[in-house]
């Protein structure tokens, strides 16, 4: 076997191997069943996704130190969205996936004080310091937003709006994909933008 052919073969098999062991991506296409999970909330109670079966659920990945998260909390945009939809019976779960020592990490006490300070109204704050929920959903950034339909399938995955920036001024005039999808779900219409580009700070995976 000549050397060139050997190198080519070697490179190819190495590449194939790399793909085989590479990070596996959860199939997070809207329409797919939402991955089940259980996590401890800021009150110390274990919460299971199945507990909310039959309701529309919003998952919001958050990290209070991230400038993109600050944009939406500092302006009151995120709180307004939470209030609008939890008032209508929707389950809103904020997920904190930062491990201890990283930006955004919160134990139950800190998570509760953050909620109080920011006048936020999530149904619950989930503590995910080992990123198990984040991995199951393939969450990459804060804020990464998901909507799960009452039948347990994913209706939306992506960014909060279409203006990927840290500037508060951009909220005005941005199209809020989460609000749009929730309105459409409520009126029984198909979600017009079921998957969008999430923007923000990287989720702080420990490994």
């Amino acid at each position: 076997m000549n050397r060139r052919a050997f190198t080519t073969m070697f490179a190819t098999s190495a590449a194939v191997l790399l793909v085989a062991v590479g990070p596996s991506h959860a199939e997070m296409k809207p329409g797919a069943p939402a991955p089940a999970f259980s996590a401890v909330n800021s009150e110390g109670k274990t919460v299971n996704l199945n507990d909310y079966r039959g309701k529309t659920i919003v998952l919001e990945w958050t990290n209070d130190g991230c400038p993109y998260v600050r944009k939406h909390y500092g302006s009151g945009n995120m709180q307004a969205l939470q209030k609008k939809w939890t008032d209508q019976g929707i389950v809103w779960l904020s997920v904190i996936s930062s491990p201890p020592g990283e930006q955004g990490f919160a134990d139950g006490t800190r998570a509760n004080s953050l909620t109080a300070d920011r006048k936020a109204t999530p149904t619950a704050v989930l503590l995910d310091p080992q990123q198990q929920v984040a991995k199951a959903y393939g969450a990459t950034v804060t804020p990464h937003m998901y909507i799960i339909k009452p039948d347990g399938t994913l209706a939306y995955a992506g960014g909060i709006d279409d203006k990927p920036s840290t500037r508060t001024d951009d909220i005005k005039g941005a199209k809020n994909f989460v609000d749009e999808a929730l309105v459409e779900l409520k009126t029984g219409k198909p979600v017009s933008n079921p998957a969008t580009r999430a923007y923000g700070c990287a989720v702080k995976y420990s490994s």
């Binding site: 930006q103 393939g138 995976y205």
Partner: protein, 693 residues
């Protein structure tokens, strides 16, 4: 001891974020990114564009983002504040790096990055004054955490009559070397359900790694490992598609970064890529269905009838039908079927040839017939002869003009109709490429039978107008009465054919260069001359007639010979560009030794077609005006050795300099030790080396 203390400090620094409460106020971004505005010339001149750079220097481990930031972050934004009349062009972004944080992949810059832009001052800016350029920069800088930052930068430049262009500005030289180069290879892409594969016609044997960065931020799964495949001819990168991409675009633009092994060291190269759908990939989302392909081929076939190359043929055939109104309806129907059969037979052969060639490994798609200069020239000659016959120069005769076509079209027999169908298909081929791409592209990726169905649908479409006319007697009655107008129309119809010939010759000019073009035009003259000689021979006495016929046959043979010459001339494609030898002599031991013995300076460049580093060095440095001028002014002979196929003389020279592969750059100065240049060249580096002579 010192080392241990250093490690201790390092650990402390690394752990600091863990110790400090994470709700501490955000760090100051200004301490993490230093922003500067730099200008290439020391002074500027009215109306003369110049280059400026925004230099961002990131603290270690921190990064800012490329134009497509990938999974997180956002691109750095620059808002110019320029004096009145100054216009700034688009920024050129250096090739990005892939920055992974866990399963999140971003595209950006660590260390230093310089964004370049051209600024054009107005003509009326007064020399002797000083202008101030300023910009506001907004960026996100991230390590594990992200911090938004802003900076205002400015610069004052004197205005003089002529711009003081520094000979080469090392900073800008280096910045340019980090910009993606225009790709020397044609890029295509194909899409599968979950992946996009970008293919380059590049010999990638020495490529060890490849990473494609698309401009579109929703196209690919940024974090997925990209798979590199290379063989002797092509380099392919398979990339997992993003789950949020809605549709596949018609073009995929981005930057491809290749790591090439050059004799043990790794050289990194970035190319700007614009990939078009490959012949095998149906354009647009998903696969094309057979039904869709067949229907669109049928429609395309019908439209083909209106093309300038086909329309005259069809018209003549219809005229012929009007002349023979006396024929029974049954006979007319038979004519229609014979014509359709001719078309279909020709398409079957074409489909067979295409599939056969592809099965044999040729990388061809539809339009292949126009990639061969021989084919283009032959088509031009046939159409020209056909045009001449319509013009009335080649109307009579028995055997020869059968080839010319006019006689074919007028033959009463069914074989005449069959031949007309074949001819219509042959002359249609140059016109099919532009809008048949999608269907035929689909046909070529399918098993032969399915592919044949698409080709036959195309043929049926081409034959359809004539078929309908033959089968619907009512329509025939609508045709005008025959008369003298038919001859005039026939003569007029020659001109669309001449127009097609003109177009084909233009296509040919890109393939064969000036000499080939001359050969093609000479062949056209010969064909016209031959046609005239044949025409004259008809009215002459036996002997003279024979003589003229001989001249005519000779001219045709001459034209065929010229066509063969054209067919063998080198196409000037990107391939030829790769191994461009302009301004250099071919290397041989003997030549080098002779030059050195006579006290000449010699620059030796050892290269190979499959060496990407060599190619990049030649494009960015060795073939630039500045370096060529320096070669000329210093009287340096430029020798180039091609190691594409192993060559023992070159191998020996490589070994002499301790190298096992190309590129190798050596500057031999008269009466001094040779200087070995690095494997990655920049213009200033070469110019500096040449200065020493």
């Amino acid at each position: 001891m010192l080392l241990r203390r250093f490690y201790l400090a390092l650990i402390l620094v690394l752990c600091l974020p863990a110790i400090t409460p994470s709700y501490a106020p955000a760090q100051d971004a200004a301490g993490l990114v230093k922003a500067e505005l730099l200008a290439e010339p020391a002074s500027i001149a009215p109306g003369e564009p110049f280059t400026v750079g925004i230099k961002l220097s990131m603290r270690e481990h921190w990064h800012t983002y490329w134009r497509n930031p990938g999974d997180s972050g956002e691109p750095t934004q620059v808002t110019w504040k320029l004096p009145k009349g100054f216009v700034a062009g688009e920024f050129e972004w250096p090739a990005p790096s892939l920055i992974r944080v866990g399963p999140v992949a971003s595209f950006g810059y660590e260390g230093d990055a310089i964004l370049l832009a051209r600024i054009t001052p107005p003509r009326d800016v007064r020399s002797g004054t000083t202008v101030s350029l300023a910009a506001d920069i907004a960026y996100i800088v991230c390590e594990k955490i992200c911090i938004p930052g802003e900076a205002s930068v400015s610069l004052s430049l004197p205005v003089s009559e002529r711009s003081a262009s520094a000979p080469t500005n090392a900073i800008f030289d280096a910045a340019r070397s980090k910009l993606p180069q225009p790709s020397p290879w044609k890029a295509t892409f194909s899409t599968e359900a979950k992946a996009i594969t970008v293919s380059l016609r590049a010999q990638g044997d020495a490529i060890r790694e490849a990473q494609f960065f698309p401009y579109d931020n929703t196209l690919i799964d940024n974090a997925a490992q990209q798979v590199l495949r290379t063989d002797g001819q092509t380099t392919q990168i398979s990339i997992e598609r993003s789950q949020i991409a809605k549709t596949i675009p018609q073009r995929i633009n981005g930057v491809l970064v290749l790591q090439e092994d050059v004799g043990g060291t790794i050289a990194s190269h970035a190319f700007a890529i614009e990939a078009t759908p490959s012949a095998g990939s149906a354009a647009g989302e998903g696969g094309m269905t057979l039904l869709y392909a067949v229907v669109s081929a049928l429609i395309a076939g019908v439209i083909l009838n209106l093309m300038p190359c086909v329309f005259p043929v069809l018209s003549i055939k219809i005229l012929h039908l009007t002349e023979h109104r006396a024929e029974t309806p049954r006979r007319v129907r038979l004519h229609g079927m014979a014509y359709a059969l001719g078309v279909l037979a020709c398409f079957t052969v074409l489909a067979g040839v295409l599939h056969g060639l592809r099965a044999a490994g040729a990388e061809i798609g539809w339009g292949f017939q126009l990639q061969s200069p021989l084919m283009v020239a032959s088509l031009a000659f046939i159409l020209f002869a056909l045009g001449l016959s319509l013009s009335g120069i080649l109307t009579i005769g028995t055997s020869l003009t059968r080839v010319g076509g006019s006689r074919l079209l007028q033959q009463g027999g069914l074989s005449g109709s069959f031949s007309a169908g074949v001819l219509a298909t042959v002359v249609a081929t140059p016109c099919t490429a532009p809008f048949m791409g999608a269907s035929i592209g689909f046909a070529l990726t399918q098993p032969f039978v399915v592919g044949l169905a698409v080709f036959l649908a195309l043929g049926l479409g081409l034959a359809l107008p004539f078929l309908i006319l033959a089968f619907v007697p009512g329509l025939q009655r609508l045709l005008p009465r025959p008369g003298r107008w038919m001859e005039t129309l026939k003569q007029f119809l020659a001109f669309p054919l001449y127009a097609t010939v003109a177009w084909l010759i233009w296509v040919l000019s890109f393939q064969v260069g000036a000499t080939g073009l001359l050969a093609a035009l000479a062949a056209l003259v010969l064909i016209a001359f031959g046609a005239w000689a044949y025409h004259v021979s008809q009215g002459q006495s036996h002997v003279l007639g024979r003589a003229f016929q001989g001249v005519a046959v000779g001219s045709v043979i001459g034209a065929i010979a010229l066509a063969i010459v054209i067919g063998q001339s080198n196409p000037t494609g990107p391939k030829a560009e790769v191994s461009s030898n302009a301004g250099s002599d071919a290397f041989s031991d003997q030549k080098l030794n002779a030059l050195l013995a006579s006290g000449e300076h010699v620059f030796v460049n050892m290269t190979a077609a499959w060496c990407i580093t060599c190619l990049v060095n030649e494009r960015t440095t060795l073939s630039t005006g500045a370096v060529r001028e320096a070669f000329a002014s210093k009287r340096i002979t430029y020798l180039k050795g091609d190691w594409t196929n192993r060559n023992p003389e070159i191998t020996r020279l490589l070994e002499k300099f301790g190298r096992s592969g190309v590129p190798l750059y050596v500057l031999y100065r008269a009466n001094a030790e040779p200087v070995l240049l690095p494997q990655i060249l920049t213009q200033s580096l070469v110019l500096q080396a040449l200065e020493k002579i």
